[in-house]
């Protein structure tokens, strides 16, 4: 066999394998969205050909607390990200520019939060939160969500600050700008893309979290992820509605991911890999 044939076969094999994986990865999403449009009866009887209906959407979105869960999720995730940005961006700057005792120890402590077992944190917090009266509150969740959002923001934004050469800040100081003006006029515009994409990625991870809201909230605050649990546990035959719950919860992240594509690698690897 000559090399052209080999290359041809290799290309075909490669495309076949990729297509197989793509099918595996994307079909479930596609199928789930499909089901949201099927009536309860057709869920059993049909596979791909059916008459679409919006009844499931109506049932879930308007006749249950789903919207409230959705908004709870928005509040908690946004709140967590905002707190992490407010505290994390200055911290990232300090880690990038200054040298002080125990600097790397502190940085790694922050990073280690990501690896900590959720249950290890939740058990004591369950008790502590009840004592402090912040069990089942937005504040309580936003605080514990820092475990997810803070390390990402600090480490990724630190990398972006390190990419800005010190001389640019020095030039700004010599131009007569106070540290405050230097930060807003020079530094922030330069890290904006990185900051936005890490904030969005942190938002996605906060949104997707299940364990914290499951165990640290009950009636007042209920995120979409916990709400969807109701559908898994039940013996309901409203599979279409289950699918709606899943789709509405999952699809915003997919859209967000498309927006932050370019900086995704840096965020996912916490700044270790510059995509």
């Amino acid at each position: 066999m000559n090399s052209i044939r080999i290359r041809h076969i290799a290309a075909v094999t490669r495309n076949f394998l990729l297509a197989a994986w793509a099918l595996f990865a994307l079909f479930p999403i596609f199928w789930m969205v499909l089901i949201t449009f099927k009536s309860d009866i057709e869920v059993f009887s049909t596979t791909f050909i059916f008459s679409p209906t919006l009844a499931n959407y109506h049932a879930v979105l308007f006749r249950t607390n789903y919207f409230k869960s959705f908004f709870d999720n928005i509040i908690v995730s946004t709140g967590a990200v905002l707190v992490s940005v407010a505290a994390g961006v200055p911290a990232a700057y300090a880690l990038a520019r200054y040298d002080f005792k125990k600097k790397e120890d502190l940085a790694f402590t922050i990073l280690s939060f990501k690896f900590a077992p959720e249950i290890l944190v939740i058990l004591p917090l369950f008790m502590i939160y009840q004592k402090l009266g912040i069990f089942d509150t937005y504040f309580g969740l936003i605080w514990v969500y820092q475990l997810i959002t803070m390390p990402l923001l600090v480490w990724v934004v630190r990398g972006y600050f390190e990419d800005i050469s010190v001389e640019i800040e020095q030039a700004a100081k010599l131009d007569g700008y106070t540290w405050y003006e230097v930060f807003w006029r020079i530094l922030l515009p330069l890290i904006k893309p990185g900051l936005v994409s890490s904030a969005l990625l942190a938002f996605i991870f906060a949104w997707n979290n299940f364990t914290f809201p499951l165990l640290l909230t009950s009636f007042n605050v209920e995120t979409v992820t916990v709400a969807s649990l109701k559908y898994i546990a039940s013996d309901t035959v409203h599979y279409g509605q289950m699918a709606v719950a899943a789709s509405v919860a999952a699809l915003p992240e997919v859209v967000l991911a498309l927006i932050i594509q370019k900086h995704l690698v840096r965020g996912l690897s916490f700044g270790a890999v510059k995509g």
Binding site: P90, V121, F126, W143, V154, V224, I232
Partner: protein
């Protein structure tokens, strides 16, 4: 003063002292400048300490018989720990934890690297795929579990209909101890393999072109290039993916909980689920902490080893060490 043999007058002395005080004032670095890094870090530091507090109290409470059932508690020393280490269920949980982590991480690494390599050819197909293959990673794992439960449902699931074609009926998926691990791992892989793909793809893209061009000129085969060039240079990226996935899968809670809550029986009872049970089902708070603390020790130990190796591979890839 100058070479005068007279002693300085009182006025001269005062002037000298005033001058040196002026100089001292003008050369002292203001405390605000010295304190600046700490001031900037203060909010983050506060939050960090707030987050660390539960860890510390976990150690403390693991030495008590604190229960959510009754309000009184006392120190019982290492009683909880002794119980745990002599409990057969504990060792089973350790086994499940390690087993789950090994299977999911191993599969994700192999698949992830393989697919990243397949994606390294740049054409329209791979470009679209690189964007679209991220989606499973962006979906909340609990939702992913929901989707897979739907898909594997024996009444309406698409998998059932698919397997029927091959004459397989009633595959037990999460319902049987034999297939539960497989099912959970499948969901884990579905969600997290894209993570490895993204990281390794970025690594492949960042590889310098010149060594490969040199290898082509020198006439190296594809396998040779892969073994001696690609793989060593990709090691840092592979290690990052490995560390992240291993640490996460060792403490996986969501997928297992949403799927079977640890069952059937105790097939999927890893340390996280076991800790949850003791704490929220049996309400034995003090006891539950020992399980998750051991998990923390395991994770710490493995991560230290791996991070060390990772830093080594970084230096190797840069050619600073053999």
């Amino acid at each position: 003063m100058e070479n005068s043999t007279e002693k300085p007058t009182a006025a001269q002395k005062r002037a000298g002292a005033a001058e040196s005080e002026l100089i001292a004032k003008a050369t002292r670095i203001p405390w605000l400048v010295k304190a600046r890094p700490y001031l900037i870090m203060a909010p983050c530091l506060l939050i960090t300490i707030g987050i660390l507090y539960p860890f510390v109290s976990a150690i403390f409470y693991s030495l008590t018989n604190y229960s959510f059932r009754n309000p009184t508690w006392k120190f019982i020393g290492i009683e909880n720990w002794v119980y745990m280490f002599t409990d057969v269920e504990f060792w089973h949980a350790v086994f499940v934890t390690l087993q789950y982590a090994a299977i999911t991480t191993g599969a994700e690494m192999l698949l992830g690297i393989g697919i990243a390599l397949l994606l390294s050819k740049n054409n329209a197909f791979t470009k679209i795929l690189k964007v679209v293959l991220i989606f499973p990673l962006m979906i909340a794992p609990v939702i992913a579990t929901l989707i897979w439960q739907l898909m594997t449902n024996t009444s309406v699931g698409i998998f059932e209909k698919f397997l029927n074609i091959f004459g397989v009926y009633g595959f037990t998926w999460a319902a049987s101890a034999k297939t539960a691990l497989f099912t959970a791992a499948l969901i884990d892989i579905w969600v997290y393999a894209p993570f490895v793909i993204v990281l390794v793809s970025a690594g492949i893209q960042s590889l310098p072109k010149s060594p490969f061009e040199a290898a082509r000129v020198d006439g190296g085969s594809a396998w040779f290039t892969f073994k001696t060039l690609t793989l060593p240079m990709l090691k840092p990226f592979i290690y990052i993916a490995l560390i992240f996935r291993l640490m996460a899968s060792l403490q996986e809670f969501t997928i297992i909980f949403a799927l079977t809550k640890g069952g059937p029986g105790n097939t999927l009872m890893n340390l996280s689920i076991t800790g949850y049970n003791y704490g929220f089902a049996f309400l034995k708070f003090g006891q539950s902490l020992s399980y998750v603390l051991i998990l923390w020790v395991i994770i710490n130990f493995i991560s230290r080893k791996l991070v060390g190796k990772y830093l080594l591979t970084q230096r190797q890839a840069a050619g600073k060490e053999k």
